[in-house]
Amino acid sequence: MSLTRKKKEKVNEVPTKITWKEIKRQKVLLFWSFLIVVYGVVFYYLPLAGWVMAFQNYKPKDGIFHSEFIGLAKFEQLFHDATFLRVIRNTLAMGVINLVVCFVTAITFAILLNELQNNNRKKVVQTISYLPHFLSWIIVTGILHGALSGSGIINELLVAFHIIDSPINFFAHPKFFWPIVAFANIWKETGWNAIIYLAAITAIDPCLYEAASIDGAGRWERIKYVTLPGIKPTIIILLLMNVGNVLNAGFEIQYLLGNGLVKSVSETIDIYVLKWGISQGDYAIGTAAGIFKSLVSIILIVVANQIAKHNGEERLF
């Protein structure tokens, strides 16, 4: 039950032919699937129709059927807006930083945890490690505010070790914002993300390690030549899945941690949409920004998938 399974068993399924008899037999299933499809159309596909707004001079009183059609004007306006270009940079930067650091820490943590000899200790550490995943961002940012405040533990430690002379207000300096976000993500998700790598490591054939030891491989060689190649398919699949989410990774924490002083580095596309779309009521510009985000996400995921396919690696589709 893990991603390490290299080859899927191909089941030769012959689709059932649509006949009246089958339809009658499956009428219960068809009835429920009809309801479920209606639900799906309303809640997942209908909002896509709202994309029309981005090409209109949308006025709530006219609705999407009677608003004036203005083509790509809203997109032009977007890309001439310095703020929007800045929020793209912020979203991409934080998305990529988080993706990279979370991958590295989760894989490292999984490998190191796997090297623990005592199984009970391993279990205890793992259980503790993913507790933060279940705390909301509200709580995590609350804790961060406390820890990084003037009298917080971080300043206290830095002063005690004479690294700084007086407490720093971390939230007042733009240069600290991205590292804080990255650290928060590491703190919250490392243990959780490691679960799947640990499962993959456990699935590696122990004979491989024995064989490597006999050939004289030390610990680092074993990790480098057995463990890492063993979990490579898992890493690639998760990387592919997360590449499409790079732009989605920027809302809650930035919204909760951001303040006027660090606005230039904290605002992301989602916050921009929220600000212009909901608070200012400019639905068209908010929708246009949302479309841009969706398109970039899809392009990213398709490109990443193609690269993986080209290199003969695992892929999503």
Binding site: L30, E156, L238
Partner: protein, 300 residues
């Protein structure tokens, strides 16, 4: 022979150093993970004005229950707690039933639109309309300013459905076939035969949904901002948090100093109340999370 021996001895010393360092690393990891939570717990039991002096780490200096008293007498927090419990219970039940039903349908081998229906949902994982169209849709459907917005829109999710479906695919078809020979309809098979076998995966999905419901605040902020009777615990917590950070808290600090309760200490108490259910249930339920995470990772 000599060389081999030497080599072995060398690695074992290296091993010792490695295990030592690894142990230190793990201890540091556990401390970094637990300290902030424990510190919040300690602050919630410590006198607010006293805490302003700093230096409180793992044990309260001046014990008090004032912070909790203050939190528990705030009307909006009580309302928030009730709504949060309600949305968690109702939302989880609804999500579990619908996701299980959908997973059951698409995992039937003979189902006519098996592939199409799966694809229909998998697409929703990658494409979505975005905030504004969704907002307008909910407004149009009359879901804004109502309790329904908490439990209806997120009810069915492709991810949860896939987790259950993966599990159901592992159940032998012969069970279904023999039940059908005995004259059982699909609903009977779903309720009496498949569902009892799916208890572990149902528990997993229920937990995912429940944690999500418990922790969500965005919907309360966006859709139910005007309805203070529909506020949630997390949203109230967020308001407490922003009132502390944005205004520097100094005015409020002074005002409350006499009462020995500060925004920081109240926030700590509210945080503890909010995470209490999760932390208490966590040791018993955590194995289900792991099951779900590994099941969910299996691709199509």
């Amino acid at each position: 022979m000599k060389l081999l021996k030497k080599n072995k001895k060398k690695t074992s010393l290296g091993d010792k150093i490695f295990y030592f360092c690894n142990g230190i690393f793990m201890i540091a990891f556990v401390i970094i993970t637990l300290y902030p939570v424990l510190n919040t717990l300690v602050l919630s039991f410590n006198d607010g004005t006293d805490a302003l002096r700093g230096g409180i780490h793992l044990w309260p200096r001046k014990w008090t229950l004032k912070n909790f008293e203050t939190v528990l007498t705030k009307d909006n927090l009580i309302t928030g707690a009730i709504i949060t419990v309600a949305r968690t219970a109702i939302g989880t039940l609804l999500a579990l039933v619908t996701n299980a039903l959908l997973a059951f349908i698409v995992s039937r081998k003979r189902f006519l639109f098996k592939r199409q229906l799966s694809l229909f949902w998998v697409i929703t994982m990658y494409v979505n309309g975005g905030l504004i169209p969704t907002f307008l849709l909910f407004k149009g459907l009359g879901l804004t300013n109502s309790f329904g917005v908490y439990v209806i829109p997120g009810m069915l999710s492709a991810f949860n459905m896939l987790v259950i479906r993966t599990f159901m695919n592992g159940i032998p078809d012969s069970l279904e076939e023999s039940a059908q020979l005995d004259g059982a309809g699909y609903m009977t098979i779903f309720l009496r035969i498949i569902s009892p076998l799916c208890k572990p995966v149902y528990a997993t999905v229920a937990l995912f949904v429940a944690v999500g419901q418990w922790n969500s605040w965005f919907d309360a902020m966006i859709y139910n901002r005007m309805r203070s009777d529909l506020t949630t615990l997390q949203y109230e917590l967020m308001k407490l948090l922003s009132s502390v950070t944005n205004q520097g808290g100094s005015v409020e600090n002074l005002k409350n100093a006499a009462g020995a309760v500060t925004p920081t200490s109240v926030r700590a108490a509210a945080t503890i109340i909010t995470i209490l259910p999760i932390v208490m249930l966590y040791p018993f339920l955590q194995r289900y999370f792991v099951t779900g995470m590994t099941l969910g990772g299996v691709k199509e």
